[in-house]
Symmetry: C2
Amino acid sequence: MLLSRLTKTVPIIGQLRDYDRGKLGRDLIAAIVVTIMLIPQSLAYAMLAGLPPEVGLYASILPLVAYAIFGSCKTLAVGPVAIASLMTASALSVVTEQGIVGYVEGAMLLALLSGGFLLLLGILRLGFLSHFLSHSVVAGFITASGLVIALSQLKHILGIPASGHNFFELVQSIFASVTQFNKYTLALGIGSLGFLVWARRGAPRLLELCGVQADLAKVLAKVAPVIGVVATTIIVAGFALDLRGVDIVGAIPTGIPALQLPGISMDAVKALALPAMLISIIGYVESVSVGKTLSAKRREKIDGNQELIGLGAANLASGISAGFPVTGGFARSVVNFDAGAETQLAGIFTAIGITLAALFLTPLLHYLPVAMLAATIIVAVLSLVNIAIFREAWRFSKSDFSAMLITVAMTLYLGVEIGVASGIVTSILLHLYHTSEPHIAEIGLLQDSHHFRNIKHFEVETNSAIVSLRIDESLLFSNAGYLEDYIDNLLIDRPQVKHIILHCGAINGIDLSALEMLEQQNTRMREQSKQLHLSELKVPVKAQLDKVGFIDRLTGSLFLSHYDAYKSISNSLGR
Amino acid sequence: MLLSRLTKTVPIIGQLRDYDRGKLGRDLIAAIVVTIMLIPQSLAYAMLAGLPPEVGLYASILPLVAYAIFGSCKTLAVGPVAIASLMTASALSVVTEQGIVGYVEGAMLLALLSGGFLLLLGILRLGFLSHFLSHSVVAGFITASGLVIALSQLKHILGIPASGHNFFELVQSIFASVTQFNKYTLALGIGSLGFLVWARRGAPRLLELCGVQADLAKVLAKVAPVIGVVATTIIVAGFALDLRGVDIVGAIPTGIPALQLPGISMDAVKALALPAMLISIIGYVESVSVGKTLSAKRREKIDGNQELIGLGAANLASGISAGFPVTGGFARSVVNFDAGAETQLAGIFTAIGITLAALFLTPLLHYLPVAMLAATIIVAVLSLVNIAIFREAWRFSKSDFSAMLITVAMTLYLGVEIGVASGIVTSILLHLYHTSEPHIAEIGLLQDSHHFRNIKHFEVETNSAIVSLRIDESLLFSNAGYLEDYIDNLLIDRPQVKHIILHCGAINGIDLSALEMLEQQNTRMREQSKQLHLSELKVPVKAQLDKVGFIDRLTGSLFLSHYDAYKSISNSLGR
């Protein structure tokens, strides 16, 4: 009992129950591949977030351990990702300009707030909320962000200065200074880009030609970026290209981060709370979608609320170890999965790998050209850009297409934060629109039976002075207003109606707004000398209405069956 | 045809079609009563909003004409109201402190933004959104705001300085300086309060005793505050109490406002956009609830979207005539209705009445004590405070009670804006929670029939390798995630299941998110050598799925009837 609860809260316990040498071997191999892949990515995403490169490594140590312990997906690989990094940069650029908080401290605070928010959602079991984010809105946002990210890295490929508050300003700024490009940087950049693009398809094929098994070749090819890193670093160092204007990563402090909280001021918390929430939401949605896909392949369950707790713990860990917001990454999770990871121990081994890199490898990265990192980012995010989905949306559903387009336009023009926010608002508005006409049916008596059916679909008996309405869901504030308008308009349009019987068989609960509506409707009908009746009330609902005395105030009566109600009122009218 | 469209856009045309002398007389009388009632209220609410008194009069001229033309409720009386005034003060205090915009200009801009927002909602026919605001949240907010407003006026009754950013600071500040009260102010204040409270019940009774007919007495009693205004003004002027520390209204410019736009800076628009939206939403909800009640009494329809347009026009009019945000007021609309108003011409006559007051009456108001205006506000808002509803919520529904309490606490502690915003968020979260488990039922074959019914409620035939799921609503992003998890978990929990048949008879549409989900589920099932089938697809839905080629990619088949699907798959398994 206790163990089963513990296993639920700390899923890794369950994963390790029948751990053996075979699993250990596979976890270790996956960890080595992911570590090699993660080193350049960590540095690159830290750069994208505007942070020193070592912060990327820090964000790839403790967060992985925290997710390994609390996350529910066995193969998800957590760490810095492109979109969260861009959103971090966007959030911090405003508050640091205003001097509210320092850049590195701000990033830590952002991770803490993100972690706290995710943890809270998880504890409150609000994971279901992510179902209300429209896929098309998320796809639109991710594509637009991918374009912004790719464009923002172009300056590092060209070796020019460029900046701008939105996509279009960035384009202008690049055009304005494109002629000042640095030829060495450009050569390195184009070379890196070309190599990375080739590596995606060419490297596996080459390895296969060399006799490597297809599956293994696919995994090994993911390590190719490291060859690029080594090669470009040697070229820059060998030809002293840093003296010819090629930007390099420079000195990276060696060591692991000290555990400490960032300085927390109320102003900084206020300024960063909303961005942290938006980063969390998008991070969670991305991560869960990867997790679902991978888990389903191995017929394993993942639990949305546990994922919130796992990602929350990872971000809290990032916030106290000099990191920045992290989440589950698509590419690295797939690599982890394909490389054979069996449990989250692979995540812990990866964290050990990155720790070793932070301790011993950083001096070797001194001459790593920024252009190589930029190329890594561009190749990574271009896979996020999904133009096909726009074509599909256009053909499939114009309303999805519009929602997508709004999100893209907002993201490109007003930035990622407003982009996500407008996407969320659009999603919720769409949902409210879809649910704005609740299930209420006017019903009549089916001939030779005691059954009532929708008058729209069946030949039924009705009485012009009586209207029977069947409410097909609980009566809550969100449908109370609709029912109120429905009855108001019905009484105006059909003045001959003297009785309304509400068939309440499907009502499991009534909230206060609906009660107020019933009270008002009852009063209005009394003023018009009309009667409101209820039939087939469930016992707890009747008890609820009794408690506040509504049944006593009812202008009409309460009937056990709708048939009795209809017959007895018809008879009373007949007399 | 053209006329009927015009009547729909400009409802007053319809109201005037069979206008006669009887209606004219009743409209005139109602207008006179409302004008007399509106003069002190306008001054008082302008003061509450932190604006010069004449602004209250300005906001009671053109906006009334605009609503009269475009509004759909025949008897709604529009103008400054307590809560919108408090929210105006709250919004402006921040931005004017930062020097972004001047106070009066800011108020105009707020009205313009409000008007634009309401108009936009109306044109987009988004009035239904107000159904998604929980009544209990609105009631909690209104009660809390009423308390804040009453407390904020107490200093004028006592004649002391007091201020604070929230309810509790206000209480502290009043306690700190309560001993410095001005005895003349306090006497006038208590006297005014006592008179106004008495006037509510005592005045009608007194008039009845004097032989006035009961209904008329009720209406005439509403004019009582003017007697208080006249009496206190004479007392202050006669005894020169302004020289003894009694705050007076002072010089009010005579004349009517020039039509002009406020200075509009992008910064000011950004700072005021959100407050304007919140003011609009609460104003609309209050106004429509009054309108519904009054219209239902006379069996007239009001159209929520037309109300948005009417209130939008009123606020735009306020914004270009030196006013501030307005909406339909409860007390004055009831008076207008009881005094016999027949059409919105009563509103236009009221506007003329207020114009005359602005032209000729303002010099007489020089010695009007502020304490009298404060008393007017306190008596008006205390009727908004509804403590009974908390008791009712506690007894009826704990979740309503919690939502109410959160809203009250937020409003008292963090101010009106955060109060409304958290109320809206709470409402939407409650709605999402209620709709988070969509209608999906596992169904089985009813014996000796071709019908399928919910396996939970009926004795039905099933096959352990086949699961039939009936989806009782359109397949959209908001339920796609739920269905996806449902199928994922089902396939893990019941590995013997080889076929899933979705009964799509109730699906009227599929959006892109749901399509993506179906595609993914289909792919996952293919990887597990399982099949997904669809039955009873409606023609347009089938066409939609055909267009993107999903039917071709389907692992299973398409069946016209669910019975055929079940039988043919069962037979294929039997072989």
